[in-house]
Symmetry: D3
Subunit: 340 residues, 6 copies
């Protein structure tokens, strides 16, 4: 079906469709004349469209999954200037038969390639206990599978399937590029901590068909979860080797994870107190801000505005045309003097 798939952002009024959408927010309502109808939202990775199914029944309504896939037949129309989809018939569709990439925002990069490059960078770690600790994480198949799919955040940055891996790799690359400039920094510790600093997001966020926070994510948070995992995997290493895992290494790794948000207000229970913690804090922030500014610019709806709308997380609007400085670029500018 994919060959002929029409994505939401391609739809025009008057199209007839016979394909699968992700369905959300279903509701059963009554018309003035007492007839039942279904209101719901159809989604794919490019957007959402409101849908209605007239002459519905409770049975039909119950047959529509909550946060699942729906094969619909029907047509698009315009209603009050908005596109709307009228469902003629529908049936639930198995999640296993769809290509999730059609429905969920996903990293633009190849996940396995990214994972391979990340492992390659981690191979530079020389300290034996750290190597074994990393290995314990890498060999946890379930965890790694989840790590490869997790977003890096719900909204702020890299909020898509594979985003956590993409963000982690970006920081690993940057760390690799800068470690040579700061030889006083413990490279082994930095690389291990880059890998693990946001690992807890795998349990904080549920990134199935719909993305959200898990209860454990809200009650405990990815920072503490990752710190606990370090303790658990270190215990597993100790069991394997029959020797205690160096406590100092655990402490330092947990310290970096706990302090990587940099300030208390963002949920770090400790402030950075070793060079490596500052190192990761800044590279993490840099990568997040690069994403956030670029994304704010790309997604700004108004092509005529030279600034994006206000970005709350950055406490400012972002100027959209710093990328070019040539003479033509001056035309981007709004005149700076009054009445000229």
């Amino acid at each position: 079906m994919k060959a002929t798939r029409r994505f939401v952002n391609q739809l025009q009024p008057g199209e007839t469709l016979d394909q699968v959408f992700l369905v959300r927010d279903k509701d059963l309502r009554t018309t003035k004349s007492g007839d039942l109808y279904v209101v719901c939202t159809l989604c794919d990775r490019t957007g959402t469209v409101a849908a209605r199914m007239w002459q519905a029944s409770e049975a039909v309504y119950n047959g529509i999954p909550t946060d699942g896939f729906l094969h619909v037949k029907g047509r698009t129309e315009e209603y009050r200037g908005q596109l709307q989809f009228v469902i003629d018939s529908c049936r639930p569709y198995s999640a296993e038969k769809v290509d999730l990439g059609d429905y969920l925002a996903t990293t633009a990069y190849d996940v396995e390639e990214m994972w391979g490059e990340l492992l390659e960078i981690l191979r530079a770690v020389k300290d034996k206990p750290l190597r074994m600790l990393i290995k314990k994480f890498v060999e946890d198949k379930e965890l790694v599978a989840a790590f490869k799919r997790a977003p890096a955040a719900m909204q702020l940055h890299h909020p898509f399937i594979g985003g956590l891996l993409e963000h982690t790799l970006n920081i690993a690359r940057a760390a690799k590029a800068l470690l040579g400039l700061y030889p006083q920094v413990n490279a082994d510790l930095v690389l291990a901590a880059v890998f693990l600093h946001d690992m807890g997001k795998v349990a904080e966020l549920s990134a199935g068909i719909t993305m959200g926070y898990t209860d454990r994510g809200q009650l405990v948070g990815h920072i503490t979860i990752a710190a606990i995992w370090v303790a658990e995997k270190a215990a597993a290493v100790a069991e394997e080797t029959g020797e205690p895992f160096p406590q100092k290494t655990i402490d330092l790794l947990q310290h970096i994870i706990l302090s990587h948000h940099g300030v208390f207000e963002y949920g770090s229970p400790k402030l950075p107190a070793i060079p490596e913690a500052f190192f990761i804090h800044y590279l993490d922030n840099l990568d997040a801000k690069m994403y956030m500014t670029t994304s704010a610019i790309e997604n700004d709806p108004d092509p005529n505005a030279s600034f994006t709308s206000y970005v709350r997380a950055l406490e400012t609007r972002i100027y959209k045309h710093s990328d070019r400085l040539d003479r033509e670029a001056e035309k981007d500018e709004k005149p700076g003097k009054l009445f000229q």
Copy 2:
């Protein structure tokens, strides 16, 4: 020796002593004439006195322990208005032969009685997994031994041997007294969390002969340490029972521990998000503030002042005479109008 012990706060100029002190801050110096002498501080639980030993040698200096016990012979004298001790001879003394209670500030209550009362209160917990979890902590002898000796804080409140237990028991009593007024609160969760909320201080603080933060305490902190211990003990319960420990119970217990400081600025990575977390946050604070105000009043050096000196942690000075309201009490007051 205890029978005849003179405590520091009893010493007068002109006394001859032959007894043991805790010694700190030793230093080897040279007089103008080139002779060596030792400067150090002698301590017991009532205070400290400066000491000098003239005609010393490097060997003598090296024989004096760092943060250990010293048997001294010598005499007190006054020097520039301050009491000073002149050491005639000295030799190191084994920590095992002393009664630590003579040297270290200690709870005024019987430790075993407090521990017994705390266990009695915890017996009210009905939820089976929580009971087993508490049991795992109670059966960890090394941990319990340390818990009974730990202070509740370095300086702010209950900063003495047994202080953590005293503080924990106070909160347990208060919780027991108030749980009946708030039936919506999960009493099992509250009682377990009262027991465990500050347990991590056992590893955060080192309370041997001198009190201080451990490296792990500074890098990781008691809040995260306790959260990790909950995970570890729950795993031990699961291993024992062969059933998974309820994850929800772990999450809630860890949540209360993580959020019990109430705000991010004090190192809580999560804000309270269940009634039980608020419950413990306020009772914990109440007990700490009761200690801090009472202690500030008792230790204020100026008997004529109606306010203590500024207490930084409370951002104010404390009024010392709110305990009595009778007519005589008015005389505590400084006149409130000008020139009367």
Copy 3:
């Protein structure tokens, strides 16, 4: 009429009604064809419903009270998925004939019983001037009548008729339960201050048919109002006894009132500087937070969500299922790992 009253939260489309509602937000509008119609809101203690009266006139409009009672005849219908009431005829209705409890949210407890219990607790005060001061307040019939009806706050906690008394009694009970644990605290001062700490709300809030802030409440505030009342009642005691009221007692009582919000940002012009002020600050907060969390959980509209929506005053969402920990309770949880 009460026997047959249909409450707002019971209404279905297609019902015919002939009963009294509280009416708000009336507006006179014109249809496209130029006819006048009235739009207003009908309320009782269970909710509100939009209403329209077609073919209205200015006279009809003017006859509808602003924030008063209206006897309506008409029928319910559904309009755009929302319930709506169409008024056929209406007439104003005297507030004296209604049972306010049908229209205004009210404490679930018996007001006179609560008042009696509060007085019983206050009877423990031994200091004679404080006893006389409390008596002056208790004998002020108008004030007591208002105190029994006042809400404890506009929105945050106990925002209903009788809420101030309920909240005050809760704190008094908690104080009674804890005073034995902290013998250094002046019990007389605590009990008197519990009674008076929020008394100024009687003048800050107007809790007639609609609840709101009075001008004096906004300009001066309940904290300063209560402090002034203490001065006035103490002067009345002094006049009665012919002796000056102890100034120290006034100062301490005013201090607790002024500082009971605990921090400047919440409108306390003084920080707590006596143990009793901290004592009341924490019990006050504890009771408010117990109400706020329980209320957020009970009123959360989404039964499937394990967290309430964001509660601004608590800066977090509240987890709704901390009340039970049994194995079944695990099902409350959203899965914590990705794609499971």
Copy 4:
């Protein structure tokens, strides 16, 4: 055309109009039947009205200016309780033929008179370099023309044509009135800085037909812009005189400009560090707050409310009746006691 102009706040349903409006937010849409229509907003200085033009074409749409003037023929009607304008025909209209005062909010005072009075006050400056510096600004015709038209702010205070001059003059008058009371303050420096402190707004805000921030305003800001202009004009004075302009005078003037917002959070890179900087900071704030409170009171839509709605910039609502204290004025008040 002005004689017969109907202002937006005078319009009633059913009027036929043939006049010019300022047009904004134009959009081309499609009806269900596929026909094109234009949606836009018509404005003058008294308000805005939504407009639609049916049976439109792309050519018509393109002919309508973006943020320009439009001569329309058509009629008003009510749509869902809101006034709406239906355009029958329209054509763009030259900005040069309109009286901008009909379309843009403007100072109520005579601009040239204000300018004259400001220059008169500045004549009191005695220091020769400062006099020459002021002269350089006054002689910059383009700058002065813009200065006379600029608003003082986008929203907060004096947000209208001529507002910057009005605000500057107000401060100059206040400075003149108070300088005698504080002889330690350098009057020359104060007067020059009053003139220049907000001058950068001329380049920060574009106050043409629509008001907004320029790109330079958002990227650099009026504070830095004004500091740069002081450097440039001082260089021009130096060139003219052949002597270096006193660097100290430049530094102090720039310091006052940089620090006049008083705190870092409002964009001042320096805190006031000379008496003159505090002097201007407070007079500037006083004038802004007088405008903001008066304006909040005058524009409050609800005549029955004794307080305005919440004013975010003041973090409070404003009481509307402090202007009169006579006995009748008491009736403004809402009763302060419960149920009376």
Copy 5:
């Protein structure tokens, strides 16, 4: 004795004195040889000098007043580079026989003239209740006597006898000068509030021989004290006239007093919510800052520094030479470029 008085800031080593000082901080100590000696501090309005009296006895020590006057005979000498006074004999001296102005820092202006000018300005109040209220304060002789002597603050500004009156008059003059520029401001309210805004300092500060906070000042504070006094004096007016004092006037006056610190953090329980409150807030701040900057400059000990030392209350150092801009003034400057 005054004719021949040597002030502390005039003393040189080797002088013989026979005159009265204010004495503070007396202490009885023992020399190495066991003799008693007295250490104390002698003060007048120009400074303090350390003093010692050898061969003292407990009787002599007890005869020296605490915070009182002492007639001493003795001589000055230098000890470790500091001036010291050696007392040969001494006897207590009656406070009634001294000219307090020799010992306490005092306003440089004539108190009665300032008071007269203040009353003259207040005469402009037209509202009858306000006039009567002001009269009640003016006729309270004890209060007025204290008002004339009180400092405006302990340290921040006008911390000397008469400072409160001087500060109040300064604001009254500024208000008088600016009220004409802001006709929307209620002048009666402003003038009454200027008079009363800091009146509570009379009870907050004790300005006898030593200056300090009273207990009531620390527990309740001048803001609440003044608000209570307004209530009490208004009640007195009502009693006199037999009519209720307009509540609205009380509310507004109390509001200005409560909000005049402008922000919660400085102890205002309400934010300014009427133009008059902002008006007084800024004039109050302006006068305080003018004092603080001028005083920091005048008292800076280092004549070579172009900035004062750090002024904590202003969060900056103050530049000392903004008063002159002539060419010579450039020499005040430190060179601004490196290595020139």
Copy 6:
């Protein structure tokens, strides 16, 4: 003389010296017997030592320079446990004859090599106006000479001769290493801004024999100074080319300079609003923090402590042993459990 120079940190009691020091804080005092003596401080780049010259005269005192060089003869001795230098004779010494590197802390790198590498990196800028702008700065010989000597800050980081260049080069290297990872970032803008972002420190700090803030530095600050210089140099380019310099380029460059501190509280009048501004903000911070942590560790006086003393600018103490993780490293740790 250098061959035989004894540095301050090498001195022992009993040495005889005949060499040059930097002299500070000279003072003329009188002994008890009335003789004059000079107290001063002798410094070189390794530390300071107190010095006294007995039997001095006013002429000798006046001959000692303020913040200059002094050739002294004399000897070291110990006084109260501190080293002290007794000057027998002295004479001023010309600054031109000394090697400043002996007296002032200096970068450990070769200045000309660093400058060469920086220019090499800047050569990658392609935008022609930016190239010309950079050239104008590079060709300003006086500025470049000062830039090469300036420290990067007074205390926080790189506070030594050449520190600004070292810090700037570090950021340039890091930018070069990371620009490839973020292709959306305008590399030309970044490189130019790295060069100029702290350039204003050349005028903010005076780094002659003693380091300090200039008046202009304190009143205006390096951020605004650099923004002004960009305007001036751009004007010079425009004059040279006869074409206007692109305003947009100026705006963006000034924006990065203004916002590079990242938050208002650190003196940035604008928050970062382009990706390039965030880029520089983080690399700048990273380099500063790497210096601060390393320097805190290296300079910590206590070899036994595993944490440095509290570092105010980082709000924490720094752990000193994160550089090594091997088994031996565990011994750095303080035991983490109580009483073990």
